[in-house]
Amino acid sequence: MRTAVAGSCIPQVPRTRFSPSSESTVVVSSGAVSTSEHEVQSRAFEQSMNPPFGAVTSFEGPNAHISLRGRVDDVAALELAAALDAAIDREPTSMVLELSELVFMGAAGLVVIANAERRLATTGVALTIQSPSTLVNHLLGMMEEARVERALPGSGHLGPEQLDGVDVVSQRFGSSMSTRDLRRVAGMPTDPDVVDGALGLVVELALSSIGDADGVSVSLMRHGVLSTVAASDQTIMAMDADQYATSEGPCVDASVKGHWFHAESLDTETRWPAFTPRARALGIKAILSSPLRAFDQPVGALNIYSRTASTFEIKDQQAAATFAEKASVILSDAHIDVGDRQMATRFQEALRSREVLSLAKGIMMERQGIDEEAAFGSLLRHSLRQGTTLRARAESVLLSVRRSERELEGDAP
C-alpha cells in the first residue's frame, strides 16, 4: 500500500511527446538541442529535479499541439514566443497549449501566450489552454483583475532598474484574454522559488496597476525574521531593509499586527521616528502596507511606495488589499506556513493536544479494559453528546483522575 503512496508522490519525469501520426515535430529547448532519444532519457533525472524549459510542437493535420515543460522565465519566454510564432505561421485551424508539465510561468510567459492568442484570433482560431496549474490560474486571475482595476499602465519607477516584465504586462492589459476560461484547476505542489516568482509577479502587477505607485515590494516572515522576497527595484529593497533595521515602519507593523498601515505623507508622519527620515532621504512621500496572511496569521506585507504625498486614494487601497489577498492565497496554497516561531507554537499546541488525548485514552483503556480505538470512540461519543471538542472531553477525563487521586490522598491516614 505504501508503494502506491510513493508512486503518486514521485515527481513525474518530463516526457517528450511525439505523436505517431504527426506530420512533423519541432523541438525547442534551452541549452543544447538534443537529437537522440537516448540523450533525452539520460537527462531525464536531472530534468526531473529542475526541469529546464522545453516546448514540443506537433501537428496532426492542421491541428497544432504545443506542450510546455519546466520553467518559463523571461529568457524562456522568448523561446516560447518563437515556438508559438512558428506554429501560427503554419496556419493551424486549432491550437492546444498543454501546461501540465510546467513548473513555473512568469509574467513574460503569460504575455507571450496572450499575444499568441491575439494573433490566432485574427485568423479566427481559438487557443485552448490545457491543465494550467492552480498557481497559473491565480496569476491569470490577478491579471484579469488588474486589467479591470486600471486600463492603462502605471507611472514611472523609482530605482535605476526597471523590470522588463512590467511593460509587457502593461501592454497585456489592453488585450482581451478570457482568463475565466482558464480557471480549470490542476493541483500542483509549489516550491519556494515558484512562490517567490509568483510574488514577483504580484509586485509587477501592483506596480503597473496602482496609480502613482513608484515602487512595490513583498515582505515575508521566514525563519522568524522579515525579509523582502520580491521588490520592484533596489531602492525599494533598501527601503524595506531600513524598516527591518529600525524595527519600525508600516511594512513591519502590517506584517506583525496584521492590518493595513497608510502613511499618507511622510513629511508629517510621527509614528515611525527612526525610519521616516531614512525614507524621506530616498524621496519617498507615501507608503501603503497591506498585510499578507496564511492560515489566519499575519505573515508579511505588500508595500506600495510613492514619491507623491497623499496620492493613494480609496480605490488604490482597495486594489492593494485585493493584491494582498491574492498573494495570501498563493502563500496558503503553497503551504508556506506561518513563520517558524508561529509554526513552532502551533506544533507545540498540536503535540500538547495529542498528549492530552493519548493520556485520556490510556486511562480509559486501563479503567474499562478496552483497546485504543474503543477509547477514542468513547471520547468522541461523549464529546458529540455534550457538544464539546474532543480535547475538552479528554481534559475532563484527566481532571476526573486528579480528583479521584485527591480523594484517595484525603482518605489516606
Binding site: 500500500m1 502506491a4 503512496v5 508512486g7 503518486s8 508522490c9 492560515f295 496558503s332 496554497d333 503551504h335 506556513d337 502551533r346 506544533f347 498540536a350 493536544s353 495529542r354 488525548l357 493519548s358 485514552k361 480505538e373 477514542f376 470512540g377 468522541l380 461519543r381 458529540l384 471538542t389 474532543l390 480535547r391
Partner: protein
C-alpha cells in the same frame, strides 16, 4: 463499477476545501486527534490513491467536523462508526 471508497474520499476532500483547510493544517488537526498516518498518506487518502482504515477515516471526519463547528456549522461529515447513538 463505482468503488464506494472512492466516493467517500472525493467527499472528504471537498469537505476539506469547503472548510477552508489546507492539507497541511488538516493533517495537523488529524495528528492532534491521535492520527498516525503521515502527511503523504493523508494526501493519498484525500486524492484516492489510498483508502484509510475506518478508524483513520473517522478521525479525519472528526477533524473536519470540529473545524465546521468553529465556523458555526453543524457536523456535516458522517462517521463510519455510529458515534451519535
Amino acid at each position: 463499477m463505482i468503488d464506494p471508497g472512492t466516493q467517500a474520499r472525493d467527499v472528504l476532500d471537498s469537505y476539506r476545501q469547503e472548510a477552508g483547510l489546507s492539507r497541511g493544517e488538516l493533517w495537523l488537526r488529524y495528528f492532534e486527534m491521535g492520527g498516525m498516518s503521515t502527511g503523504f498518506e493523508l494526501e493519498a487518502y484525500l486524492s484516492g490513491a489510498l483508502r484509510p482504515s475506518p478508524y483513520d477515516r473517522d478521525v479525519i471526519a472528526h477533524a473536519l467536523n470540529e473545524r465546521f463547528s468553529e465556523l458555526g456549522a453543524n457536523h456535516p461529515v458522517r462517521y463510519l462508526t455510529e458515534f451519535d447513538g
